[in-house]
C-alpha cells in the first residue's frame, strides 16, 4: 500500500513533466517558413558588436559578416576585390586612393561616404584605436585618411604598403554618427553597419538580428538568430533536431552523422596551416636545420589529412595554402620518408633519436587533438619522443610574444586570413620581435615584398620566400586546415569567402 502511494506520487510527477514537455515542442526547420535563419556557431564575439577589439577571424566573423562591410574583400585566391570600395590605386609611395560605392546606407539611415571611412580610420589610428587588435595588429602602417570628395578617400601609410587594400578586408566601417553620439562602448551592444542585418538584441547566449532592407546587400530572410554552442556535438544535435538551420564547425568524424540527418556538408579550405613551430633561437636539437627537416620527413601528413580530416584537408607543403597569394605550387615540402628522416637525424648527431618537448593548444582546429597524437605516433617510429603539454591560449600568448618557451616546439597556426596574402604569416613569424626563428636573408626578402607595388614581381618574391622558408623548416608543417559547415534541409544560397558567410544570399524554407 505504502509502496503504491510512493509510486503514485512519482507517476503523477512524471506525467506533469510530460505534459509540460509536449506543450513546448520545438519549432523545427520546416516550421520556420517565416524567414528566420538560425545559425549555430562555436562562439559569439566576446566584444559583442565592437568589430575592432578582437582578431578578424572566428568567432567574430560569423557575426560581423552579417552586420558590417569592409572596403574590400579577399577572394578565394587571395586577390582583393571590391566591396564598399569599387576601385583603388596607389597615388604615391605612401598613399592609396579608394573610390567608394555610391548609394549605400547604414542601418540607422546614415549615408556611407568618404567621411564615414575617414571617421573609422581616425578612430583606429587614435590612441584608443591603437589599443584594439585591428588598430594594432592589422593596420600598423596606416597613419590616417583624407576625404578627397564625397566618394573618394585617400589612406596614408607610414611605409610603402603594397597590399594595403587586402589588409583593409579586416576593417569594418561603422556608422560615424552612431559611433560619435553613442560612443564605442555603447555601439558594442548596438552596432550599426551597412551589412544585411542589424542587431535587435545581444546576450552571451544569443544574438538576434533583423533584416536591414535598405542594405546594398539586401537579405532574403527576415530575421536571423546566432546561437553559440561551444560543443560540436551540441551543434550537430541542434541541427539534427531542427533547432538551427545551419552550423559552422563540426568535427570531421561527425560528417557522416550530419549527412544521415540530411544535412549538406560543405568543406571550405581554410587559409591556415597547422604546425608545430620550432624554438630555433633558443638552441637545442631543433637549432639544426637537419633535425627540423628530419622531423618534417618523419610525419605522414597526407595520412593525417586523409584519416583525421576525412580526406577533405591536405598535407601542408609550406606555410601557406593554395588559396593564398604567394603560395608556391612548385614547393613540394617534405613527403613522408622515415628512412630519410633517420638519415638526417644521424647526420645531425642523433643516431639514437631524441626527445622533444612541446606546448600545444587544442580545440582551435578540426581534429587538432587527434592530429597531435598522430604526430607523436609517427615521430616515435623514427625514435623521436614528443612530449607535449596542452595549454590555454592565455598561457600560449605571452610565451609566444616574448619567446619564453621552455620546450623545443609549440603549436602555431600559419594564418593568412583575412588578407589572404602570404606576407601575413611571413611578416609575423620570420624575425618577429623576440623571434622563435630568424633568417636575415629571408627577412630581407619578406621586407622587399612589403614594398613591391608590382603584383607580378611581388608574387615572385613571395614564392621565393616560400622556397627558402620551407627549406629552413622553422616549423613542422602539418595540414592545410579546413572549415566545415552543415546546412539543414531547406537552406539554400550558401557561400563563404575568407570565413565571411554571404548571409544576404541565404534562403530558408
Amino acid at each position: 500500500m505504502r509502496r503504491n502511494k510512493i509510486f503514485s506520487v512519482m507517476t503523477i510527477t512524471a506525467m506533469l513533466f510530460a505534459t509540460a514537455v509536449v506543450g513546448q515542442a520545438p519549432a523545427n526547420a520546416a516550421g520556420k517558413s517565416g524567414g528566420t535563419l538560425t545559425v549555430g556557431v562555436a562562439g559569439l564575439p566576446p566584444s559583442q558588436g565592437n568589430p575592432y577589439r578582437e582578431g578578424p577571424g572566428t568567432p567574430g566573423v560569423h557575426t560581423y559578416a552579417a552586420v558590417f562591410d569592409a572596403l574590400v574583400r579577399v577572394d578565394g585566391k587571395g586577390a582583393a576585390k571590391p566591396k564598399l570600395a569599387l576601385s583603388w590605386k596607389p597615388i604615391s609611395k605612401k598613399s592609396w586612393r579608394f573610390n567608394l560605392r555610391k548609394g549605400v546606407k547604414f542601418s540607422n539611415g546614415e549615408d556611407f561616404d568618404a567621411a564615414a571611412v575617414k571617421a573609422t580610420f581616425d578612430y583606429l589610428v587614435s590612441e584608443a584605436g591603437r589599443r584594439t587588435v585591428i588598430g594594432s595588429t592589422e593596420l600598423p602602417t596606416v597613419t590616417g585618411a583624407r576625404v578627397v570628395n564625397r566618394y573618394t578617400v585617400d589612406i596614408y601609410t607610414s611605409t610603402v604598403d603594397a597590399i594595403l587594400p587586402a589588409k583593409l578586408a579586416a576593417v569594418y566601417i561603422v556608422a560615424p554618427k552612431a559611433w560619435k553620439d553613442a560612443g564605442e562602448d555603447i555601439v558594442t551592444a548596438k552596432p550599426v553597419g551597412t551589412g544585411p542585418f542589424k542587431f535587435d538584441s545581444v546576450s552571451t547566449t544569443r544574438i538576434e538580428l533583423s533584416a536591414f532592407k535598405g542594405s546594398w546587400r539586401k537579405p532574403k530572410v527576415n530575421k536571423m538568430v546566432i546561437i553559440p554552442l561551444a560543443d560540436a556535438a551540441s551543434r550537430l544535435q541542434a541541427l539534427q533536431s531542427g533547432q538551427v538551420n545551419m552550423i559552422a564547425g563540426i568535427n570531421p568524424d561527425q560528417i557522416e552523422a550530419a549527412r544521415a540527418a540530411k544535412g549538406t556538408v560543405i568543406t571550405v579550405p581554410a587559409p591556415q596551416v597547422m604546425s608545430l613551430a620550432f624554438n630555433v633561437t633558443s638552441g637545442g636539437p631543433v637549432a639544426d636545420v637537419r633535425v627540423r627537416q628530419a622531423l618534417n620527413y618523419g610525419v605522414d601528413k597526407e595520412a593525417i589529412a586523409k584519416n583525421l580530416l576525412a580526406g577533405r584537408g591536405k598535407g601542408a607543403t609550406q606555410g601557406v595554402t593554395p588559396t593564398v597569394n604567394g603560395y608556391n605550387s612548385n614547393v613540394k615540402g617534405y613527403p613522408y620518408d622515415p628512412a630519410k628522416a633517420r638519415q638526417l637525424l644521424t647526420a645531425a648527431g642523433f643516431p639514437n633519436g631524441l626527445t622533444l618537448d612541446a606546448d600545444i593548444t587544442v580545440g582551435s582546429f578540426p581534429s587538432d587533438n587527434l592530429i597531435y597524437q598522430a604526430v607523436k605516433a609517427d615521430l616515435a617510429k623514427i625514435n623521436v619522443t614528443l612530449n607535449y603539454t596542452t595549454i590555454t591560449f592565455a598561457q600560449w600568448l605571452p610565451q609566444y610574444l616574448r619567446n619564453t618557451w621552455k620546450g623545443d616546439a609549440f603549436g602555431l597556426s600559419w594564418n593568412s586570413a583575412p588578407r589572404g596574402d602570404a606576407s601575413r604569416p611571413y611578416e609575423i613569424f620570420v624575425c618577429k620581435s623576440s623571434p622563435f626563428y630568424c633568417n636575415q636573408a629571408e627577412n630581407a626578402l619578406v621586407k622587399s615584398a612589403q614594398t613591391e607595388l608590382n603584383g607580378a614581381k611581388r608574387l615572385a618574391i613571395l614564392q621565393e620566400v616560400a622556397v627558402r622558408v620551407t627549406e629552413s623548416a622553422p616549423a613542422l608543417y602539418l595540414v592545410e586546415q579546413i572549415d566545415l559547415y552543415v546546412l539543414g534541409q531547406g537552406v539554400r544560397g550558401f557561400s563563404v569567402e575568407n570565413r565571411a558567410i554571404a548571409y544576404e544570399r541565404l534562403t530558408v524554407r
Partner: protein, 311 residues
C-alpha cells in the same frame, strides 16, 4: 545592549564581510598570476609599445599593491570596473545573468528532490530486496556518469529522435526541461544514496526499535521516526548541491547555451577579463553565503536541539 539574536546577526554580517574580502583578495592575486590581459587585448601581432599602452590605459602598469588598494576601494563601492572585452559595467553585466542561473538552480533542486526523496526512502526502507538492489546498482552507475554524457543523451532522445523538446535555451519554458533534467539526474544519485543510507541507519536505532516494539505501524515508523532524522542530513547535502549549482553548472550551460554565471565565468577567464571574473565570483560568494544562512535556519527549524544554539 544587543540581545542574542542581534549579536548573532552582527556575527553573520562580519563573517560575510570577511568572506568577501578573502575571496576578493585571493582572486585578485590569482588573476594577476594567471596572465596579462593586455596581451589578449592587443592580439598576437601587437608591438611592445601597444601592449604597454594598453597596460597603462587599464592601470595594469601600476605596482601590484597600488592596484590592490584601488581594487578594494572600488569593491567597497560595488564598482568592479568595466568588462575588458565588451566595456559594460562588470557587475551589472553579471547580474543580467543571475536570474537565469537562479531559475536553473531552483528547477534542478526541485526536480532532484522530487525524484530523489521517494527513491531514497524506497531504497532505504528495505535495502536487501533484490529489486531494490538492482535500483541501487543503477543509482551507483548513474552517480559515475558525467553530466556531459547525460545532457547529450537526453538531447539525442528528446530533441533529435523524438523531437519533443528544444535543447537550446531562450526558446520558451520547454527549453528549461532538458537542462533541468540533466542537472537533476546528475545530482539525484548522490541524494538518493545518502537518503537511503540514512533511512536504513535509522531502522537500527533504539528509538526506532522501541517504537516498533510498541506497535507502531510501518507508515508511522517511517514518517515519525525514520524520515525526520534521515531528511536532516540529506538537507545538508541539498544545501551543498544548491551552492554548487549557483556557482555555475558549467558543462550543462555549455551544452544547452544556457545564459548562466558558469558560462560567463569561463568566457571571462578565457579572455582574462578580470573585472567580469571578479564580479562573477563576488556574486557567487554572496549567494553561497546566503544559501548557507538559509540552510542553517532550516536546520534550526527541523532540529529542536539546534534551536538552543546560536543563530
Amino acid at each position: 545592549m544587543l540581545n542574542r539574536r542581534g549579536k548573532a546577526l552582527w556575527s553573520r554580517i562580519i563573517q560575510l564581510l570577511i568572506l568577501l574580502w578573502s575571496v576578493s583578495t585571493v582572486l585578485f592575486l590569482l588573476l594577476r598570476l594567471s596572465g596579462d590581459p593586455a596581451l589578449i587585448l592587443a592580439g598576437e601581432g601587437a608591438t611592445p609599445e601597444i601592449i604597454e599602452a594598453i597596460r597603462i590605459a587599464n592601470g595594469f602598469d601600476k605596482p601590484l599593491i597600488t592596484q590592490y588598494f584601488v581594487f578594494i576601494r572600488d569593491v567597497i563601492n560595488l564598482d568592479f570596473g568595466n568588462s575588458l572585452v565588451n566595456s559594460q559595467p562588470a557587475l551589472s553585466f553579471v547580474l543580467q545573468y543571475l536570474p537565469s542561473t537562479l531559475k536553473l538552480t531552483f528547477l534542478a533542486i526541485v526536480f532532484n528532490t522530487i525524484v530523489a526523496i521517494p527513491a531514497g526512502i524506497w531504497l532505504g526502507a528495505k535495502p536487501n530486496q533484490r529489486k531494490r538492489r538492482v535500483l541501487s546498482t543503477i543509482v551507483s552507475v548513474a552517480q559515475g556518469t558525467p553530466s556531459y554524457v547525460i545532457g547529450l543523451v537526453l538531447i539525442q532522445i528528446f530533441a533529435v529522435w523524438l523531437g519533443w523538446l528544444p535543447s537550446i535555451a531562450n526558446t520558451g519554458p520547454g527549453a528549461w526541461i532538458l537542462p533541468t533534467a540533466t542537472l537533476a539526474f546528475a545530482l539525484a544519485p548522490n541524494l538518493i544514496r545518502v537518503l537511503a543510507a540514512n533511512v536504513e541507519d535509522t531502522t537500527r536505532q533504539d528509538y526506532y526499535r522501541t517504537a516498533k516494539a510498541n506497535g507502531a505501524n510501518p507508515t508511522e515508523l517511517l514518517i515519525k521516526h525514520s524520515l525526520p532524522n534521515a531528511l536532516l542530513s540529506a538537507t545538508s547535502l541539498l544545501g551543498a548541491q544548491f551552492a554548487f549549482l549557483l556557482s555555475g553548472a558549467l558543462i550543462t550551460e555549455f551544452i544547452f547555451a544556457w545564459p548562466g554565471l558558469g558560462l560567463i565565468l569561463v568566457q571571462s577567464i578565457t579572455n582574462l577579463d578580470f573585472p567580469t571574473v571578479q564580479a562573477t565570483v563576488f556574486v557567487v560568494a554572496c549567494l553561497v553565503f546566503f544559501v548557507n544562512l538559509v540552510m542553517d535556519q532550516v536546520f534550526r527549524l527541523a532540529d529542536p536541539r539546534l534551536r538552543k544554539s546560536q543563530l
